[in-house]
């Protein structure tokens, strides 16, 4: 696929942006948050945080999942408004009413979750909401020329007339990034933009970031990757549990110091001490490939009495590997053995009955029926067991007793099993998910991103719960993009990259460096 060179329309944009707002010198304050707080129902997501972005710098936001980074950028981008405090842009306080409003001021965000209309073409998406007109009608020629101009200036190998739905994730991300460059830019927010990009695309993105920096644009950049921080960051602001910790200059701050800032001393208390006692082989995957090639030739083993971690970037195939074993993905070749029996390609129901329990990452989409009560959700996958039915009829009393006992054990808060699941906080919803797997005899628990969107307090309870499962002799697999989580909980750790199992680490070898080395191609080494 070739990219045609930018024509007249494209040139125009280039000069427009180049001459954008020359009123701020590089290094002056472009945007600042002053004691900004954000309260969501039930949580204080951001607690009186201050932040300063200068023209022409890359300011990295660093912190664990749930530290408040996303909340912070969502306020800068106009998605949410602060509960308390003030946002100051170019010297005057502003209220950013909407993303569109922020964008019109030159504050553009590229979120992890894309906001593209799949059915429209690349160029239609680029200019959605501000299509060029001539005499009241859409000016398709200008639209096309300008879209081509932007894409070729950014060096993205996309055709403007491609339908977005047909693009790969990385390509969709390019469209999302290109949208930010549509209008005059003064603040660019990038939320883990490289998660789905190849190395070459990443290089290209960083070149772009350098370019806009030179023009006085301030860049807010969220990443977990040390290599990227070293490469492009000027300053780093660390958040933890919704609180501001520190802002440091990138050049004289070491990796260890950053991690210390990020995790604080909480780390020893967050992760429980687990005594592993690996026993019989529970799950054995040999040479597994799935249809579509997102997992290729994978080998993993999980034993009773141990926790096995699966680490890797988003899209590395770690979820798909397990979902294939659980009957949710089509298997192309390879073998899956469970508890000594060959189970390749068996249905989900059958795997459940054999004692394989998979707790999906997206509670809303796959885990829970949000508008039904906790009781019904807890018993749902076990209704055919004798505890819950007598011939064709449900045993409602028994169901209530079991659900109540489990909810009490997991300290569900508030302890009301008839309440709609959707009304509970994220952490408590996760507890309902956990309760689901305790209604039947399970030999292998798989937790897929068990602590996404869960606060630290609940996280500790979930980890303790997982540790108890393991110590009581079950096999546990944890799939997680959250590095500290798998580093601290795993007895053995598999690292996946682009659908392949890149490395198996055990015991003392489970270190951040060892894992990161296998996360990317050769970026870190």
């Amino acid at each position: 696929m070739t990219v045609a060179g930018g024509k007249a329309g494209g040139e125009r944009i280039v000069t427009d942006t180049a001459s954008a707002r020359p009123d701020l010198a590089i290094g002056e304050t472009l945007l600042s948050l002053e004691n900004v707080s954000k309260r969501f129902p039930g949580v204080l997501a951001l607690d009186s945080v201050s932040f300063e972005l200068r023209a022409g710098e890359v300011h990295v936001l660093f912190g664990e999942n749930g530290a408040g980074k996303s909340t912070m950028i969502s306020m800068i981008a106009g998605v949410h408004q602060p509960t308390d405090g003030e946002i100051v842009f170019r010297g005057s306080p502003v209220t950013l009413q909407s993303v569109h409003h922020a964008r019109s001021l030159g504050i553009s965000a590229v979120f992890q979750e894309f906001s593209l209309v799949d059915q429209l073409t690349v160029e239609q998406n680029l200019f959605l909401g501000s299509e060029p007109l001539s005499r009241g009608l859409l000016d398709r020629r200008t639209l096309h020329a300008e879209a081509e101009g932007i894409l070729s200036r950014l060096g993205f190998p996309l055709r403007p007339t491609q339908i977005v739905a047909h693009l790969s994730r990385a390509e969709q991300q390019m469209v999302e990034i290109a949208k930010a460059f549509r209008s005059e830019l003064s603040v660019l927010i990038l939320d883990e933009p490289t998660a789905s990009l190849t190395e070459r695309e990443t290089d290209r993105l960083f070149e772009l970031v350098e370019q806009v920096k030179a023009r006085g644009v301030g860049v807010v950049y969220i990443t977990h990757r040390m290599a990227e921080i070293r490469r492009i960051a000027d300053r780093i602001t660390v958040l933890r549990d919704g609180k501001y910790i520190d802002t440091v200059a990138a050049e004289n701050t070491g990796e260890e110091e950053l991690v210390n800032l990020m995790t604080g001393r909480v780390i020893d208390q967050v992760f429980p001490k687990i005594d592993f006692d690996p026993g019989a082989e529970m799950l054995a995957v040999e040479g597994l490939s799935i249809v579509g090639g997102r997992v290729q030739d994978a080998h993993i083993v999980a034993r009773r009495g141990e926790i096995v971690g699966l680490a890797g970037l988003v899209g590395a195939g770690k979820s798909r590997l397990i979902r294939a074993c659980f009957g949710l993905e089509k298997i192309e070749s390879g073998q899956v053995r469970f508890d000594g029996e060959e189970v390749t390609g068996k249905s989900t129901r059958e795997m459940l009955d054999r004692g394989f329990f998979y707790i999906p990452p997206d509670r809303r989409a796959e885990g829970l029926a949000m508008i039904r009560s906790c009781r019904e959700n807890i018993s749902l996958s076990s209704l055919h067991l004798d505890d819950f039915r007598r011939s064709a009829f449900l045993r409602r009393g028994s169901e209530r007793r079991i659900a109540q006992a489990l909810a009490t054990k997991l300290q569900l808060h508030p302890l009301n099993i008839e309440r709609q699941v959707g009304h509970f906080s994220g952490g408590n919803q996760q507890k309902v998910m956990l309760a689901k797997c305790l209604t039947r005899e399970v030999k292998l628990y798989v937790f897929d991103e068990p602590t996404v969107g869960v606060d630290v307090g609940t996280r500790v309870e979930i980890y303790k719960f997982i540790a108890e499962l393991c110590e009581s002799g079950a096999a546990v697999i944890i799939i997680s993009s959250d590095l500290p989580e798998v580093l601290h909980l795993s007895n053995r750790l598999y690292v996946m990259h682009r659908g392949r199992v890149q490395a198996e680490l055990a015991g003392k070898d489970i270190t951040q460096e060892n894992v990161l080395r296998n996360f990317f191609d050769q970026e870190v080494a």
Binding site: S115, L116, V117, D118, L128, G129, E131, G136, L137
Partner: protein, 347 residues
């Protein structure tokens, strides 16, 4: 782009060993089920009846289909935004009753001002249709009522009003000229209903393809969140979709009134099903965001063709409804298959 070139080589490899079935598959994925259905219908009915392919009959088919064409074009706006309008039949009926009543009243008061009476009647009728469309749009856009409930409810309301106004009997007393011109007349040799339908289709084509509003229908139906993040007023867009749908259905209602020479409360009951069928057969997605106007026109024409063919083949009218319903379901099933196939052709 690595993936892209892999795709290119893949398709190149395939084309060297292209089979007919693969070609058909590509055509199917690209154009949908309509070309196949049209072809089958034409072959079958030509075989059954000698008259079917005659110019006279075909013109007849187009004229008969023009009413459905209009309603289907209106329906497409609702479908594009991810909803649908079940009240189009009621809109046609209410328009007919209100328009005929107003026209007859104006005509009896001032028998000399024929064209003034016709104008007033048409305005009243179309205003009635727009009113229903506006209520639909208001409920869906502002109160977030599901289009299903909103338009189903309004179809009962409108039908009830139309029956109440007429007591169930047809409304007569409109000037002769109305029927003569809009029902049976011709413009430049083209039957009036076809002419009006062409005008509306041309207008709708420009609206859908060449204006921002048209683009926003697709955007709102494709991804509401993305649309509102882009600064598009999703409420206004939804409201206008139902308003336009009501307006176009009302035009169809007035044309039918002219053809029947009377205001009828019980016309249009098949319109919701047939118009949605025409759109879906034409590849308009029930999930919103996908659909082409020219195909919708062809889709309506196809349904007219099938009905005409069945008439020529002397198939009972009760059985005809069975066929239309079955066609709708086949179209939806084909749409699902197409989704799966397009994924497999991509991969």
């Amino acid at each position: 782009m690595a993936q892209g070139s892999a795709l290119d080589t893949a398709t190149a490899a395939q084309s060297s060993t292209t089979t007919l079935s693969h070609k058909l598959k590509v055509v199917f994925v690209r154009l949908g089920v309509l070309p196949f259905l049209l072809l089958i219908a034409i072959v079958v009915f030509t075989a059954i009846s000698d008259n079917f392919l005659s110019g006279r009959n075909l013109l007849n088919v187009v004229r008969q289909s023009s009413y459905l064409m209009l309603v289907a074009v209106g329906q497409m706006f609702a479908l594009l935004t991810g909803g649908f309008d079940l009240s189009v039949g009621t809109i046609v009926a209410l328009t007919s009753v209100v328009g005929a009543t107003a026209m007859a009243a104006a005509f009896s008061m001032m028998p000399d001002a024929v064209w003034l009476a016709i104008t007033l009647g048409v305005i009243a009728g179309i205003a009635a249709g727009l009113f229903i469309g506006a209520i639909n749009g208001f409920g869906v856009a502002v109160f977030g009522v599901s289009p299903f409930m909103m338009t189903l409810g309004m179809s009962s309301v409108g039908f009830g009003v139309a029956l109440y106004m007429t007591g169930g009997t047809p409304v007569y007393g409109m000037p002769q000229e109305f029927g003569n011109v809009f029902g049976f007349g011709t413009v430049f040799g083209v039957p009036a209903p076809i002419f009006v339908a062409l005008l509306v289709i041309a207008g709708a084509y420009v609206l859908v393809n060449r204006t921002r509003l048209g683009r926003y229908f697709y955007a709102v139906g494709g991804n509401v969140k993305a649309a509102s993040l882009s600064g598009i007023s999703t409420r206004l867009t939804l409201f206008l979709a139902y308003l336009i749908c009501g307006g176009i259905a009302a035009i169809s209602g007035m044309l039918l009134t002219a053809r029947l020479d009377s205001g009828e409360a019980n016309i249009g009951s098949a319109m919701p099903l047939e118009s949605i069928a025409a759109c879906v057969i034409a590849g308009v997605s029930l999930r919103g965001g996908v659909g082409r106007l020219e195909n919708v026109v062809l889709g309506a024409l196809f349904i007219g063709l099938v009905q005409n063919g069945m008439n020529l083949a002397r198939i009972e009218s009760y059985l005809q409804t069975v066929v239309i319903g079955a066609l709708l379901i086949i179209a939806v099933v084909a749409d699902q298959m197409r989704l799966r196939m397009s994924a497999s052709l991509q991969g």
